[in-house]
């Protein structure tokens, strides 16, 4: 069947072998697409596009427009698209096509290959043997503004920001009402007045807390820069994605780095190891590694390192 709508996932090199011998298709055995359809290949001009027949009631222009307003539907489509692309790309080079690229029949797919022929060919040359790794860094929560009751002497956190919960703190905070003012009443005389502490001590303590928090946030930015600079040096290309919105990620910690790195497939283990090392060296950050992904973030030449993250700073 050659009529009807076709959803395109990715473009691969056509090695000239029979269809069954396309590595990408072999890898896709048993994997279905966005409409639970089997994925097949249309070959043209030395390229092949991985595609599936999708029903018009969901994928013609009007329907698709409506469907994309539905987050649950978008999620299903995005996950299926990603599954096809990354499964196909597990062993061989695939060039992902942008989400929701739909053509009319196999003829439409061939037109698409012809239109993008040069771009696909140069992307295949450039990305052959490469994979994408995602690295995100989050600021671990800053110290609370108000110390919990019974831990009065938190000012010394400023002396040891890297070991915030050090048990070797000389001034034990466990005795209530003692620091600095032995004769003070054990309860506040007026609401809002900290007990057992002079106003000056209180202000000093607050200042130290604030400085410790600032230093910690400073370390966060510096850590993110260190991570990105180091990994950019290891990668062939890097790209900064915008920090993720906590409403989407469900992660309340501030996302200070959301980057993608293009790495040679055989260097992946080394790259992952370096990420682990960097995570250990930056206690103010929680570092997450995802991948290997197909090179989604590196399909366009002019996009490399092109986007500036909010906080990861400049990058060459």
């Amino acid at each position: 069947m050659t009529d009807g709508l076709r959803y395109a996932y990715a473009v691969v090199r056509d090695t000239g072998a029979p269809e069954a011998a396309l590595d990408a298709l072999t890898a896709l055995e048993g994997v279905t697409g966005v409409a639970d359809e089997p994925v097949y290949a249309v070959r043209h001009l030395g390229l092949a596009v991985l595609a599936g027949a999708v029903p018009a009631e969901d994928y013609d222009e009007g329907s698709l427009r409506k469907r994309l307003e539905d987050m649950a539907w978008l999620e299903k489509m995005a996950r299926a698209h990603q599954r096809v692309v990354d499964t196909a790309g597990a062993e061989s080079c695939v060039i992902p096509v942008r989400l929701a690229t739909v053509c009319h029949g196999d003829e439409g797919l061939r037109r698409m290959l012809a239109t993008g022929r040069e771009r696909f060919a140069s992307a295949l040359d450039r990305l052959e043997g490469r994979v994408e790794w995602g690295v995100k860094a989050y600021a671990t929560r800053p110290a609370a503004e108000e110390p919990p009751a019974g831990t009065a002497d938190t000012a010394d956190a400023a002396d040891a920001p890297s070991t915030p919960n050090s048990p070797s703190t000389p001034n034990s905070p466990s005795t209530p009402g003692t620091p600095g003012a032995p004769g003070a009443p054990s309860t506040p005389s007026t609401p809002g007045t900290p007990g057992a502490m002079s106003g000056r001590d209180y202000l000093r303590r607050r200042k130290a807390q604030r400085q410790a928090a600032e230093r910690r946030w400073g370390d966060t930015e510096e850590g993110a820069r260190l991570v990105h600079d180091t990994l950019s040096g290891l990668a062939e290309q890097s790209r900064l994605h915008p920090p993720q919105d906590p409403r989407l990620s469900g992660i309340s910690d501030r996302n200070v780095l959301n980057a993608a790195y293009l790495v040679r497939r055989q260097d992946s283990a080394d790259f992952a190891e370096r990420v682990g090392e960097l995570a250990g060296r930056t206690p103010a950050l929680r570092v997450e590694l995802t991948g290997p992904w197909a090179p989604y973030s590196f399909t366009a030449m002019d996009e490399t390192s092109g986007t500036e993250g909010e906080s990861a700073g400049t990058d060459g």
Partner: protein, 66 residues
């Protein structure tokens, strides 16, 4: 998809937001036969709208043809 091999970095489920980062701002943009531009879509869902705006803030016109 194979995830990170190391213990502390490994996680089981791929976050949707990580997938969307790549699918909405990555991949070859090419004219299919349907010229759908997601910018035209009425994004009624707050979470999706937030995503699109955060993408737009840093990637000029991600939905337009190149």
């Amino acid at each position: 998809m194979t995830m990170a091999p190391e213990g502390p970095l490994a996680h089981q489920q791929i976050a949707l937001v990580d997938v969307l980062d790549r699918l909405l701002a990555g991949g070859v943009v090419i004219t299919g036969d349907l010229t759908l531009r997601i910018a035209d879509v009425d994004l009624v869902r707050i979470d999706l709208r937030a995503l699109i705006s955060s993408v737009n803030a840093n990637v000029p016109s991600p939905w337009e043809e190149p």
